[in-house]
């Protein structure tokens, strides 16, 4: 076995320090949550939103353009775009281009006339 010199010890300590920087991010609780199948992902998308998007996907054709409106996720929501793909998902800026409007988490969950109720929101065909 190689006998360590002081110089070698210092260098190995440097390696350990550098590794500790990255390893310090390890969070056993986060891993445990994941292994247990926590309902919330780290991006903050809750299970109800996923169910809402599932329902929207089931109610719209694959080539549809859907305007997803959600106060908690303003603008064009990348998560909705991913979930509803290959549908074209647009944000409020392109509201006029979308035949379908999916609204999530309205204060009053009661859908307006002509709209279909979805878990946590509703879907309206213009």
């Amino acid at each position: 076995m190689t006998r360590l010199t002081l110089r070698g010890v210092v260098v190995l300590a440097g390696l350990v320090l550098a590794a500790a920087f990255f390893a310090a991010d390890f969070a056993p609780r986060a891993v445990r949550d994941r292994l247990r199948g926590s309902t919330r992902s780290v991006s903050g998308v809750d299970a109800e939103y996923a169910r809402f998007l599932d329902a929207v996907a089931a109610a719209t054709p694959r080539d549809a353009t859907v305007c997803v409106l959600s106060e908690s996720r303003p603008g064009t929501d990348g998560y909705a775009a991913y979930w509803l793909a290959p549908r074209r998902v647009v944000g409020p800026e392109r509201y006029a281009e979308a035949p379908y409007v999916a609204v999530y988490r309205r204060r009053n969950a009661e859908p307006p006339p002509g709209a279909s109720a979805m878990p946590g929101g509703f879907l309206q065909k213009k």
Binding site: V10, A13, G14, F21, F22, V31, G75, Y95, R107
Partner: protein
């Protein structure tokens, strides 16, 4: 899951055949890594070729291609190849490798469990993969649809294509199973690092390298599953090892590895292209290496092709992450301070952690013996510098941009850096046996002494001039040392026991109890409530937290909200209810009023006679709320007539109801109060005019949400000007071209308006944007006579509850001829929870809650205006739709 695993395994078998050509003379670990890399790349290339030929690459077609390929490979005459004899396996290597594999197993299980949902970055990578999978082709809209601009159309497609190809071969999109692709890339990276170091150094070094890489949690965290960092790190390891091999023994096979690894780098991410260019540059500049130009070309050609393809595919879609114009020489002056901010953030915000990393790397580089891998120092340093440099050119706040992405992206460099560090460390241990060298003890002692002097100085440095957070305070935040000064300066004006905020944040116990909530609110920038975005002109009293303050609070909460030493606490802030500006010259008292919230919020106007027997000039106005808990805001107006008195007399009880305004012809506004608003004296020589015998009409909005039932008895403190008045504070408003209608259902109805041109030079002292419940954004801009535009205020998250007057730190000079322009957007859709009607109705201009307004009050002084003149510029002006202002 099984089908995805089978596809990856089949691709790896095919890749192993290719690896015999590319990496046949490498170690076993490297061959395994190349097998995975080449297999997945080949699957992706075949799938892409089929898509180009308008064929959907299904499992049968891909299996047929693989079968043909393997048959040809089997027919090939086996040529004897030089195989490396594996170095001796040591117990240390076994232990290190076992830990590395255990770490890899944790990642694998959690990645598969999380699937591709772990990160918002899936909007960039997995979104494209999913679209390609479902459409069975690479649709043009990935590069041309403005609605997909957020997903970076200019990014290379290798990672999404690989995911889509595996999914197509497996015939299903299983986000959890597809995480296995990332597991495969990770294991391949470990194998590549371990194999290379085993071959060039020793098995122990290989295991140590694998361990260093496996412990890089930011890279292997499930949040990176679905992004391109993991394949990028893998590609960079292949390129770095090929680069080092080329330096030692340039040959055709090594050049081939350079070409392929460069293609993988360039196809995966822009940073990969940068890494290829950096490696090529270092290769060219390295004297004594044979075939330098050929090696550089091997790196540059794939990088160039990757760049060209990325640019060629994108049409008409731009992403606003970076502002390329900052790179033009005329804007270098702006770039420099942004770069400085980013670098300060790097060495300050992450101070404790970053110094650990810097210390570790510095020790290895300074103390360890030189090694063959030192050629990687320059490329890796340059590569690491790319991230802060790119962040400096971010379109928005450069520090936020860096903070959001630095950890993950910098970690992508780490596996390649591990090769360098382990090689140097091993060389040090090896040197002991060959030629023992003395430790540079004097240098170490000198460094330690220097650190002992410098560190305390740095630790006490404030991260922002005048800010409460020091470097040490951020490194180990405690309540009394770090958080309490921030709360005092930014939060406690509302968050004290009798304040309007629902919770107090004065004592440690109450702050610690709400630590998580506070951290969440400040991290999401919902608190402190300041709606004006940073612009070219600073506002006075801006409570917005600096990144250091925000980071300190978040870290404090994350670390369990430690109290720290009470002796570190600043003197407590007092909330005695006294006047902030000192004793006023005149105090106007509103009558005692108890609002009845049975029908919701109350807007009540109180008439406050001044009883002045002569005209007066006022240099400041302070409102002292009688019951902060329920007061939402108070607006003051000057009235010379008697309309308000008549209304007051005809209404029961004190004051009269007055939603929307004073409901009386008033001369001018006189001041305002809102939670968190600090009273201010006007700039020297500037004053408001208060005519003799005039009355102040105070409109107060009482919030039913407060739950308070205590009566209110507010007061207005008036401070007369003591200095000669040179300029009168006047007010005008810029508003939308009325009348307007906001169509029902429209989430982004836009209104514009303008005021001017100004007849003479003026100085804008303050600005007050105003909309109602549907307002979302408002921007007020000055179009100067030379055609340039200066943003005056930009509210991009309007909230009626948090309206306020924004005073400029220094009055903004507006030359004669300036036009003030207003642009605002409204959300009249179902998604706006403040929308008062459901389903939405067309909304018109008006003063009721269910109506809308779109205006910004401008408080300014005007050159050449006699201070005694009552009227501002445009008192007799009206605005008409689409035509702009006209004079009567």
């Amino acid at each position: 899951m099984v089908s995805v695993l089978a596809v990856i395994a089949a691709a790896t078998v095919c890749g192993a055949v290719l690896a015999r050509v590319v990496a046949g003379d490498l170690s076993r670990g490297e061959r395994a890594a190349w097998s995975v890399g080449l297999g997945l790349a080949a699957l992706t290339a075949v799938s892409a070729a089929m898509m180009a030929l308008h064929r959907v690459p299904g499992p049968k077609k891909l299996a047929a291609v693989a079968a043909v390929f393997l048959a040809i490979a089997a027919l090939e005459r086996r040529r004897p190849r030089h195989r490396l004899r594996p170095p001796r396996l040591t117990p240390t290597a076994v232990v290190l490798a076992a830990i590395a594999l255990a770490a890899a197993a944790v990642f694998a299980v959690s990645a598969v469990r999380s699937g591709l949902y772990g990160t918002d970055a899936l909007a960039t990578w997995a979104l494209k993969a999913r679209i390609i999978f479902f459409e069975g082709r690479i649709p043009d809209r990935l590069f041309t649809d403005p609605a997909l601009a957020f997903s970076h159309p200019e990014y290379p497609l290798l990672a999404p294509l690989t995911l889509a190809s595996v999914a197509l071969a497996a015939r299903s999109w299983d986000a959890h199973a597809l995480a296995l692709v990332y597991v495969a890339w990770q294991l391949a990276t470990l194998a590549a690092v371990a194999g290379f170091l085993s071959r060039r150094v020793s098995r122990t070094a290989g295991a140590a390298g694998a361990l260093l890489v496996a412990l890089c949690v930011p890279l292997w965290a499930p949040t990176s599953v679905g992004t391109a960092e993991i394949p990028l790190a893998f590609s960079m390891v292949l390129a770095a090892s090929a680069f080092l091999d080329y330096l030692e023994r340039p040959s055709g096979s090594v050049a081939l590895r350079l070409v392929i690894s460069a293609a993988l780098c360039a196809g995966t991410k822009q940073e990969g292209i940068v890494f290829c260019v950096v490696l090529a540059a270092c290769l060219v500049l390295r004297r004594g290496t044979r075939f330098r130009l050929a090696g550089s070309a091997a790196l540059l050609v794939p990088a160039g092709i990757g760049l060209w393809v990325s640019r060629a595919l994108v049409h008409g879609v731009s992403h606003a992450d970076f502002d390329a114009s900052l790179l033009s020489p005329s804007r270098w002056g702006e770039l420099a301070p942004r770069l400085r901010d980013v670098l300060v953030h790097l060495v300050s915000a992450e101070i404790a952690d970053a110094w650990v990393l810097a210390a570790g790397i510095s020790i290895v580089l300074l103390v360890a013996a030189p090694s063959f891998a030192d050629a990687l120092v320059a490329p890796l340093v340059l590569q690491a510098f790319v991230y802060p440099a790119a962040a400096a050119a971010a379109a928005a706040d450069p520090v936020s941009h860096l903070a959001a992405s630095f950890g993950r992206t910098a970690a992508a460099v780490w596996p390649a850096a591990a090769i360098l560090l382990v090689a140097r460390s091993a060389a040090t241990l090896e040197a002991r046996r060959r030629e023992p060298r003395r430790l540079p003890v004097p240098a170490l002692i000198g460094a330690a002494l220097a650190a002992a002097v410098v560190l305390p100085l740095v630790a006490g440095t404030r991260l922002h001039a005048g800010g409460p957070v020091t470097v040490a305070g951020l490194a180990r935040p405690t309540f009394h040392r770090t958080v309490e000064p921030i709360l005092q300066a930014r939060c406690q004006s509302c968050h004290h026991e009798k304040g309007i905020a629902p919770i107090a944040l004065v004592r440690y116990s109450e702050s610690a109890e709400h630590a998580d909530q506070v951290a969440r609110m400040v991290d999401s920038r919902r608190m402190p409530p300041w709606k004006a975005a940073p612009g070219p002109h600073d506002f006075a009293g801006d409570p917005t937290l600096s990144w250091a303050e925000r980071e300190a609070i978040v870290r404090w909460a994350r670390r369990g909200a430690p109290e720290g030493n009470p002796s570190d606490a600043p003197p407590p802030r007092t909330f005695t209810g006294g006047w902030e500006l000192g004793e006023p010259d005149l105090v106007l008292k509103a009558p005692r009023f108890s609002p009845d919230f049975s029908k919701g919020d109350i807007y009540q106007c109180f008439v406050l006679p001044t009883d002045l027997d002569r005209d007066a000039w006022v240099s400041a106005v302070e409102v002292r709320p009688g019951n902060r808990a329920m007061m939402h805001h108070a607006l003051l107006y000057v009235e010379e007539g008697a309309s308000s008195l008549k209304r007051d007399e005809s209404a029961p009880g004190p004051g009269y109801p007055c939603f929307g305004g004073p409901r009386a012809p008033v001369n001018d506004s006189f001041g305002e109060w809102a939670p968190g608003m600090q009273p201010r004296r006007y700039p020297g020589g500037v004053a408001r005019f208060l005519p003799r015998k005039s009355r102040i009409v105070m409109q107060v909005h009482y919030s039913a949400l407060s739950g308070s039932v205590q009566p209110d008895e507010s007061e207005v403190g008036v401070y007369f000007a003591k200095e000669p008045v040179e300029r009168r504070l006047l007010s005008d408003d810029v508003r939308s071209y009325a009348p307007f209608t906001l169509a029902a259902g429209d989430p982004v109805a836009k209104l514009t308006g303008s005021l001017g041109p100004l007849p003479s030079r003026s100085e804008l002292v303050a600005i007050l944007p105003h909309m109602h419940l549907l307002g979302r954004t408002m921007t007020v801009t000055a179009r100067l006579p030379n055609g340039t535009r200066e943003r005056l205020v930009d509210v991009n998250d309007w909230d009626l509850r948090w309206q306020r007057t924004y005073f400029f730190e220094k009055p903004v000079v507006l030359p004669a001829g300036t036009v003030v322009e207003l642009s605002a957007s409204f959300d009249n859709s179902l998604a706006n929870s403040r929308n008062p009607t459901e389903p939405p109705k067309d909304v018109h201009f008006g003063e009721m809650t269910t109506d809308e307004m779109c205006m910004a009050l401008l408080f300014w002084t005007v050159d050449g205006k006699n201070p005694g003149e009552k009227n501002a510029f445009f008192k007799n002006e009206v605005c008409t739709p689409e035509k702009g202002p006209e004079r009567k």
